[in-house]
């Protein structure tokens, strides 16, 4: 296998100060780092609740909606941010409305979700193929690209991120209660349904943010993996929430640095770093399980 040629690329030196000065001399890189910071913090927090609520499939569906949104925006010529946020939030409302009715029939609900998801991707593909000017094809939208981020986009990301945090600050406690034990929460008068709809809208907004960094296919790198890693490491809510934010930020920035020096897509690096953390967090438990399996027969043998 041949690796891509990196003749035209800047060279990474271990003098990090120089490296950052070099990278930050380009406005697009500064914007990428700013956007990365905002997005990874928002996504880590929202994703933490998503993992707690076991709604990863819904999150995946919403992320898929970002692709037709972005490609329609390209085709019709309106703002990319509008395409991302509009489609993701609309998809969140649809998922919330459908999910309420089909609560009992789990199998059928997943068939609906799967179909909607594939149809949304197909629409995105249609828009891309109708819009013939895109040289790169859909790859940049699907797997992330950091070069195109404008200052305007960063401002929108920051405003939406602040709004998401404001809503979360208000509903955070009841949402945590409703996520951990929905029945008891409902019995204590917590509006579980309203919270669930609100949360899906927040999830839509966060997914739209993540899509602009990692690409629509790889949003899990910033939404699920940091949260899953943190929840593996500690069971205390406040600590694991903080940890999840730190992990997300670290993966995103490390990914940006790597993508600046290497020709491979940003999404690949962010997922690779985040997943490495996830595997490392699981190593102690896996080790214990393997040891336990080795030990168990000896123990029972001793008893017999």
């Amino acid at each position: 296998m041949q690796l891509a040629s990196d003749a035209a690329l800047p060279v990474f030196s271990w003098n990090l100060l120089n490296d950052f000065q070099d990278m930050w001399s380009y406005l697009s890189m500064v914007n990428a780092f700013r956007a990365g910071a905002i997005v990874s913090v928002v996504c880590a927090v929202v994703g933490w609740f998503m993992v707690l609520r076991r709604q990863t499939f819904a999150g995946h569906t919403l992320s898929v909606a970002a692709f037709p949104g972005a490609s329609l925006a390209t085709l019709a010529g309106f703002s990319l941010s509008l395409g991302y946020f509009g489609f993701c939030v609309a998809a969140a409302l649809v998922v919330a409305a459908l999910g309420r009715k089909g609560r009992e029939s789990g199998a059928e609900e997943s068939a609906v979700t799967g179909t909607v998801q594939a149809f949304a991707l197909a629409c995105g593909y249609l828009f891309i193929s109708l819009y013939k000017g895109l040289l790169e094809g859909p790859t940049a939208m699907l797997f992330g690209d950091f070069l195109g981020i404008t200052t305007g986009q960063v401002v929108i990301l920051a405003v939406v991120g602040a709004a998401v945090f404001a809503v979360l600050a208000v509903i955070g406690r009841p949402l945590l209660f409703a996520s951990v034990d929905p029945q008891v929460a409902a019995g204590r008068g917590v509006p579980v349904r309203l919270l669930s709809t609100l949360f899906l809208v927040l999830l839509g907004a966060a997914t739209a943010e993540a899509s602009q960094i990692t690409g629509t296919l790889l949003v899990f790198a910033l939404m699920v993996i940091p949260a899953a890693t943190a929840q593996q490491l500690t069971a205390r809510p406040a600590l694991s929430l903080t940890l999840s934010v730190l992990l997300g930020l670290a993966a995103c920035w490390a990914g940006l640095i790597a993508a600046y020096y290497q020709p491979y897509p940003l999404g690949f690096f962010v997922t690779a770093f985040a997943f490495a953390g996830y595997v490392l967090a699981h190593l102690p438990r896996l080790g214990r399980e393997v040891l336990g399996r080795v030990r168990t027969p000896i123990a029972t043998g001793g008893v017999a």
């Binding site: 979700t113 799967g114 998801q117 594939a118 790889l218 699920v224 899953a228």
Partner: protein
Amino acid sequence: MTAVLTQTFFQHALLAGTFIAPACGLVGYFLVLRAQIFTGDALSHVAFTGAMAALAGGYDLRLGLFAATVGVGLLLGGLGRRGRPDDVVIGSVFAWILGLGAFFLTVYTTSRSAARGGAGTSVLFGSIFGLSSGQTTLAVLIAAGICVAVLLIARPLLFATLDEAVAAARGVPTRVLGLAFLALVGACAGEATQAVGSLLLLGLLAAPAGAAIRLTDRPFRALALSAALAVAEMWGSLLLSAEAPELPPSFAIMATASAVYAATFLVRPNRALRTAAA
């Protein structure tokens, strides 16, 4: 219209589609019934990485495709409890695998001669009109094999799906069946990738099966209906796409399948209420 029908590319597509569609319909029915759609989704992403890794390494695309989908299908079955893996684990692993796919795509498109930039798109979104005669023959053979295998294990698999505990007590090897089924899903995902692309194969698996389950409560009738719907949708959309060349065939297939599924909600809108009341 008739001019298109006599073109070889269209005949290949029609032939391959006629066999791939029922395979997806049959496998999809059990996938929906076992609530394992998310597994199918994860496999579909693995398909992309497998194909890209094979291309980047200089092998035949289909070798990587099937090795990846069947291998990961078995792996997921082996990892998860009773062959039903956890959503968060699948989500994390497939995000990473997909990232690897993007990596291989870049390796492939930048290291070799130009004009290969379309490889990623054609694996992601399929190119059923681009099948050669050799590819068509192999696709037909594998799809026929999947159909036969699913029909052979249909009865015990249905039993194990509807009531796993009772089936296990009656001596049905539920774990082996679960693993065999995931391997079949993997093979089917590899097949469907050639038709509609790895990103869209979920629709081909879920939509006909979901529609069939809405239309009838009887398992074997639903199984047959799912396969029949898949074939009908495939034919209809290939014709549609031949008629209107600006519509990519993958989009036409997804649009037809989704429309049929949506129509079943109009035919029997009250079913969820009735089952809830019963």
